[in-house]
Each structure stands twice: as C-alpha cells, then as structure tokens.
Point group: none
C-alpha cells in the first residue's frame, strides 16, 4: 500500500520532470521548478532520485519503455509488416507533434531531444530498435531485403523520420504530419532487393 503510493508519486515526478526536460532542455530545467509543479518538496525528489542526472536518465528510460509498450500493443493488431512500419512512422510523427504544441521552438531551444534518446546511457532506445528490426526480419520473409543488417536498417528507418522532422523544424510552411507513408515508401524502396 505504502509502496504503491510511493510508486505513484515517483511516476508523477517523472512525468513532470519529463515535460520540463523536453520543453526546457536539461541544463535549463530546475529541480525546484519540477518540485513546484509536481507539488512535492525538493527533498522528496532527492529521496526518489540520486540527483538531476539520475532523474533525467530515468525519465528517458521510462519514456522509451512506454513508447515501446504502446508500439508493441499497436503492432500486435496489425499483420502486414509494411503496415506495421507505417503505423510506427505515424506514431513517431504523432508523438513529435503532440509532445508539445511548439516542438519547433523546443527543437531550437533544445535540439538534443531527437538524438538524445538513442545515445543516452544504456541506450534506452535499444528495445525499440530491436522491435523495428524484428518487423524488418518479418518483412524479409515476403519482400527479400538487400541488406540483412536489420538493426542498421532500423536505425535508417528512424533516421529517415528525423529527416522529415528536421525539415519541418527549419521550414515553417512545411507540413509533415501526413508524410508518414512517404517515409515508409522511401524506406522500402531503399531496402528491398
């Protein structure tokens, strides 16, 4: 019971912290601001997390875990591998636009986010890359692929998505939300034999 409350509090802090890190950037984020918004004391945060860096790293891990689970659930309802890729691309674009109503500004203030996830300690995105790789392996059964380094292909898939996001971050008039299929088509043509 007590543990449950503690866990709830922990996730709540993590969520608020995530919002701050994402919108403000790591350095500009203040522990005191997180505490105030999460309506806990600074001491409580330090009770749950070693320090600022630990809080950040836990946030990234939790975020990735969550996305991974959501993705996994959604993919379970789809049978066609190509459709799975489309769903993933769509989810990524959705996430980027929903995450903050001003992702463009966010990327300008804190351009680290896109890459951050992949290189943060312990590579918390690993799970997701493996998930993408497994879809590609599946795809390989029906559509033979040129390159069997599925993990690298997964990186390429993600990177292509970033290309659209970056374009959009630079060019105000650009509409990228409906480009998910374009990403997948481009990608498929790039990998199939």
């Amino acid at each position: 019971m007590k543990d449950e409350i503690a866990n709830l509090k922990r996730s709540h802090i993590l969520e608020v912290a995530g919002r701050h890190f994402t919108e403000t950037g790591y350095d500009a984020t203040q522990i005191s601001a997180i505490a105030k918004e999460a309506e806990v004391s600074i001491g409580t945060i330090y009770g749950f997390f070693e320090n600022k860096e630990g809080l950040f790293s836990e946030f990234i891990n939790a975020e990735m875990e969550r996305i991974f689970r959501e993705l996994q659930e959604e993919l379970a309802t789809i049978s066609e591998p190509i459709e799975k890729l489309r769903a993933m691309a769509r989810k990524k674009f959705e996430y980027m636009t929903r995450r903050t109503n001003n992702i463009r500004e966010m990327l300008n203030k804190n351009p680290m986010f896109l890459v951050q996830a992949s290189v943060a300690k312990n590579c918390p995105m690993e799970h997701i890359y493996i998930l993408i790789a497994s879809v590609l392996e599946e795809l390989n059964q029906t559509v033979p692929l040129k390159n069997n380094d599925f993990i690298q292909m997964a990186y390429n898939f993600k990177a292509l998505g970033n290309g659209y996001i970056e374009r959009w971050a630079t060019d105000e008039r650009y509409e990228f939300r409906d480009k998910a299929d374009e990403v997948v088509d481009f990608f498929i043509d790039g990998i199939k034999r």
Copy 2:
C-alpha cells in the same frame, strides 16, 4: 596587417571554442576555460564576440561555411552525380571521425551536435542542403526520381548518414567509416523511380 592578426586571433579563439563546445557541450563550456586554452584573456573573447551564444553561433556558422566550401571544391572535380553523393557521404563520415578522437563520448555528453547545426539560428546548414539538392536535381536528368522535393530528399540523405553515425555511437564494435557507399545505394534506391 593589424586586421590580419586580429583575424588570426579570432579564428584561433573560434577553433578553441569549437573544440570546447563539441567536446563539452554548450552549457558545460566555460568562457574562462576557452580563454585559458586559447591563451587570451576573457576580455579579449568578449571583444571579438558579443557573448557566449554569439561565440557558439559563430562557431557553427564558420564550421558549416568551411565544410560547404570544401564540399563544393571536391564536387567540382567529380562529374557523375552519384559519385558526388558518395563523396559527400564519405566526407561526412570522415568529418565525424576526425573531428574528435572520441566522438562517441562526445555524443553521449552532448547529443545535440548532430541536430543542432540544422536548427541553429539562420539555419547555417541551409547552404549544404541546397548543395545536396542541386546534386539531386542534376541526378534527376539521368536517373528520374520519384519525388521532386529535392530539398526534402537532401534532408533524407543527411538523415540517413546520421542513422549510421548514431548506430556507431551506440555500438562500440560497429565500423561505419566504410559504409558511405551503403548510404548512397540505400538512398538511390529510395528515390529513383
């Protein structure tokens, strides 16, 4: 004469600053540390640059300008558009490995670098995207492309390269220096009709 010395000093500061920003990240970089390593006073740095942000922004701009010029020169010696793309990919990978002997650690401490350039004020990478786009337009003459948004394709090209770099940043055993051709092949297959 005096101007020349001033310019040399300026470039020297910019170079040292660049090393610091790249290796330590923007926030963790200290003006005083740059001053000490560049063997000038703090005041001298503030004589050349408005403030820390101005110094950073000039560093990014100068870097991009330099890369752009080098790229342009190299491309002038190549006639085949596909070979041009290969040269570009090779240059990018070379740059990333040469830039610091520990780019992996750099990306961990400062994951912003890869994206930063594209979204920094005034988009200093614009020139390079336009250069890539012009090569793609050229390519379109001989190899008809599916998508005529050459700028977006340029973003995709760069993004794909990032995919390999990120992979390499995460996986110690990965050798990406010789993957330049793979990037181009993947890319060409993705864009050609």
Copy 3:
C-alpha cells in the same frame, strides 16, 4: 513561529544592508559583504529580496516607514503646530547625526542619500511630506499662511533642513544639532502672511 524567525532574519539583513548602502553608497555596496556581515549566505539574501535594487528599495521604504511612525507618535503628544515643526526638525537633525558616526564622510562618498529618498521609486517619503503638510494646514488655522500649496511648503521645510546638513557636511567646525529652532523660525517667517 517560523514566520517570525524569517521576519527577524529579513529585518536583520535589511538593517545590515541599510548600513552598507548608507555608508558605502549603492553601487559600491556588495551583496557578498552584506551577506558576510549579516552572517547569512548570499542565497539567503536572494531568497528574501528580488535583487540588489529590490533590497535597496525595501531598505528605503522600511526606513521611511519607521521614521514616519516615530514622527507620528511624537507629534501626537504635541498640540502646538509650531512645536510640531520644531520636533520634526529636531528629529531630522538627530537622525542625521545618529545614523552614522561619520555622516560627513558618508555624504562625501555617497552624496545621494539626502535626495535619494524623495525621488526613489514610489516616492516613499510621500507619507512624510503629507504629514508635514497636515501640520502646516493645522498651523494655517491660527497663523494664516501666504501660500496654500502645503505640499510645496513641506518640501521647502525639508529642503531648509538639508541646507543646514549640507553646511555642516562641508564645514567641520559647524555645529548644527542645535539649529532646529532656527530652521523653524526661518521657515515660519517665510510662510506666514
């Protein structure tokens, strides 16, 4: 209880700060010096006051408020308006000599003090001018005054006092403490019809 301690600390800082501002002048006063003398940390000061200017402004306000209250209390015990003016002049002179044991040096290092109070944001001396004006209005009942701009007359009253203080600040041999009555006589003759 906690609030009480905080208030005590606050007043203590204010008092130390006041001593510094008065003796050293605004610009030359260092927050770190106030912190050291008040035996609190710099951060604590910034916890109580927005910034240096805020601290200064609060000091002036508090000082004026205190003087105002003291003055009001004393005037309540006096019935004759002229006697009230005398009391005020005496109080001012007392204040100037008691405030620091070296007001002369203070005025040399920081000549702003005399005027500062009247022009600082929100004119914290306003209360006092109104108090003086009310005494003059009262006086007007028995001794008809030439000029009915009581506020201006209040300024004149204060200014005349300053004349004696300045004289004393310049001339070492000058004894001004017993000139309070002279100020009032001069003033009365200047205003009565």
Copy 4:
C-alpha cells in the same frame, strides 16, 4: 600653440564627460563611452586625467567655476540685491531644466547631482556660496536681516531652490520654472528682521 590645442582637447573631454556623469551617474558612466563620444582615445583621457575619479572631480570644479563666472557677470549688471537673488534663482532653475531634457529621469537614476556639488572634495561650490553670501551682505545694508550668518543663509537659499526641484522631480504635473520669484519671496520673508 601646442598647449592651446591640448587645453581645447581637455575642455572638450571635460564637457563630454560632464554630460555623461550628469545624465548617467558616476558609476554607470564608462570611460570608453566618453572617449568614443569625444572622439579621442581612452589613452588620451588618461593622459589628461589621473583616473575616473579625477576626471569627475575636475568636471565638478570646472562646472562650478563656469556657473560662478556666469553668475558673477550677470550680477554685475544688476544693482538691487533682491533682483540679484531673483536672477540667481532663475539661473538655477534654467540650468536644471536646460542641462538635460529629462532631468526628472536623471534625478531618478542619479539623485546625487543636487547634493553632490556641495560636498564634493574641496567644496567646489564654495565660491558660489560666497557669492550668494556677499549679495546677502549687500542686502543687509537696506533690508536688515535677522541672522548674520550669511553663509548659512546662502545654504538656505540654495536648499530652498532644491525643494522646488525635488517637488518637481516627484510630481509630473508640477511646473517649477516660473517659481523663481516665489523662492526669493519666501526666502526674503524668512531672513528679514
């Protein structure tokens, strides 16, 4: 010849410096800004004046000397002592309004000016007080005065003027330029037997 040029340069610097000290306040005035506006080098300023404080002190002295001379000249054309006082009050008010087109703001940013002059090292206003005192002595021949401390009366005269200036500095709607006669009337009534 060379000396003449040097003297001209010196006065020019002094004039520019004066404008800066008056409008910006001592601390906020930058030597570099004076140098730029005076179109001389920083080094030149340091060739003429010991340091910032020396420059300031010379400015005050020169200013007082100038005002003194102007006043003396004007008074020479007037025979009636009371008219002389009126001329002085008028001159003071004129000076305060002409000096900067925004004396109110100046007093807020740098409230020291009014008092500064009288207490600055070597009391550079002394001459002026003596001049006023001599007029009062003259006045004493025809209008017997209560108090024979003419110097103190001179301080009072100046202080009364300050009262109007301070009033005006605090109250936007106040028009003080035409109050010169009021000051003198008030003063005369205050001093005459």
